[in-house]
Amino acid sequence: MINRWMFLGLGLSSLVSMPASASPQVGEIQQKLQQLKSQYEQRIGALEAQLQQLQSNEQQTVQQLQKVNKELQQAKQGASDAASSGFNPQISVILDGRLASFGNDPEAYELPGFALGGEAGIGEEGFALGHTEIAFSANIDNRFFGQATVAIHEHEGETEVELEEAFIETIGLGNGLTVKFGRFFSGVGYLNEQHEHAWDFADAPLIYQGLFGNRLWDDGIQVSYVADTETFLQLGAEALSGRQFPAGGSHEAIGAWSLFANVGGDIGADHSWQLGLSHWRSNDIEGRTSGGHSHGGGADEIPSFDGDSEINAIDVVYKWVPAGDAQGRNLKLQFEYFERKEDGTVTLLNSSPLETTSYDGDQSGWYAQAVYQFKPQWKLGLRYDRLDADNSGSDEDVLEEAGLTDEGHTPERYSAMVEWNASEFSRIRFQYNRDRSYEDSDDQWFLQYTHSLGSHGAHQF
């Protein structure tokens, strides 16, 4: 290209340098030729400049790439503090306290057809602290994240310290895989993985109390996989020790295991949803004790279960957030259904002669709730709980003493709450329950504060 222009230019310049004639026309031609010549020279010059520019651009690109690489190296070194706003580890404290009023004696609380274990119950009357949680978390390095949560609470006049969570988790293992190792809240159900301070009501749904004694947690390993799909699809499996309620007793290395699947997505900009299925199972449970029927048999007769247990669950969550503005009006609907089948024997420990029965457990329950943020800072919530037990065994009397017959009663509960959030770190909630868990209906009132200080909490779905 350039060669051709140069050739042209040369030809033209030789033309122009011919001796001038006297004719004015020749002068004009010469002038025109001069103009042409200078135009071409300009264009050639411009082209040469462009060529040089391109070459230097290329060099610049290489230099820039080197620069980026260098920056990345530096970024890698400082990666952990960039991700966590300078606190390492991130520390947060949840302050939770309440004032409660019950119509019935909280000691008399029971769920007919469900042998209560774990932390099931409605707590203390009057002023009391809930769970004071202290959580530490951080990216340990570029491969692992770690978290430990200690919950301090009062139980029968004694301060108990409980290690709720202590786990490590892989970061960006690739292909959508994440492995968690240690003590953690199981991925079964929807509410189970959330901390109590993230719940929308002051107490756990009845079915969580009845089946898990508040929640399902254990030591073990969890592998989860997020599929490479437009629609959210997550599959997970857990192998657990099986030492915690509702498993229990001594086991082989793996005492319980679970599977879960979640599907979810958005509908337009205003709606989002998630559907979950989960399964939990523990075989060869030995000596799982629970609180018995408080007004039957001796007080020290403790029901103990041996056998196999299996839980299936489904959960659905839907959120409506107009224009995606979570600060303004929004609505959250939530539904969970659980079903537990058990097969084994129930023995009343400390009874004499030792009372025992075969046991074929069939327990189920669900709750549905709606929480509506009607204006910034203010939320209103309604919840309905219902349980159903259809357990059978060779000795009905033993079942009844163990609290495993439904006594012709279907536990249910209506709850309403209103809460005020001064900021996303503080909340004051007022809640009323019409509790028909057992024969004597109960009116329960709660005034609760839940405040968090320290690192910024996560906005989970």
């Binding site: 990345l72 960039a82 690739g174 994440t178 995606g324 910024h456 906005h459």
Partner: protein, 298 residues
Amino acid sequence: MMRLLFRLSLLLALLFSAGARAELNVLACEPEWGVLVEELAGDRVKVSSATLARQDPHHIQARPSLISKARRADLLVCTGAELEIGWLPLLLRKSGNGKIQPGQPGNLIVTEGVELLGKPERLDRSMGDVHTAGNPHIQMDPQLIAVVAEKLQQRLALLDPDNADFYGQKGAYFQTRWRQAAEGWKKRLQSLQGRQVIVHHNNWPYLARWLQLEQLATLEPKPGVAPTTAHLGKLLTASQKQLPDMILLADYQNDRAARWLSDKTGVPVVKLPLSVDLGGSLFELYGEVVERLLQAAR
């Protein structure tokens, strides 16, 4: 039966189809960075944004659709400076995607290496929802847009070296047009120099610096805390002594407090877009901002 099964599996495959992949999947935390990527990379990338222009990017949840987007992303472009602190760390953890983790080429935090305005002198939540790193709303400074565009162009070239030349050309073309446009806007808004403004939330320090506006006060008593009657009363008294020229707020913010003050003082309320959705462009965004400011100044 076989046919039914076949149809079912086809349906499932469609529902969860990975789809025809563009070269790079880019997830922008805010749409302004998404449109910038579109500008710089055209059809060589597939861009999605975690938030919409009218959303406050601070108040987002790590919802399922975002986890699956993060899982599929080759490049994550976010503001940083704690703007996404409530949900981005969770998204990164749940994604199981190594490419977009901090320190990887697929993780670009645009405020990193930028001198941010408004670093708090004191870190205390009684001061409201303060950003320790400084004010993150840098998209309102054309010079910083140019800086981010250059970073983006380099990062795209690094991740997709086959198209490096393409990104280089696109980048150079954008920079030229952007420089010219920015000069034009500045010229048109020359008359605004030294004007005094009250803002709803501290979204505009970069715009104020660019146009040499003077910010007198915020309607929010503290960042992230809704305007209170007491605070508005104080502002009214102050405004009556020294009348501001306009009240600025983002178009997604509640304008009740601004309208109240405007009614009492006659100072015009100017609602400005803070971002622009995918498919739009930053030229459009700035054009709109300039038009609305000019209208108010008249």
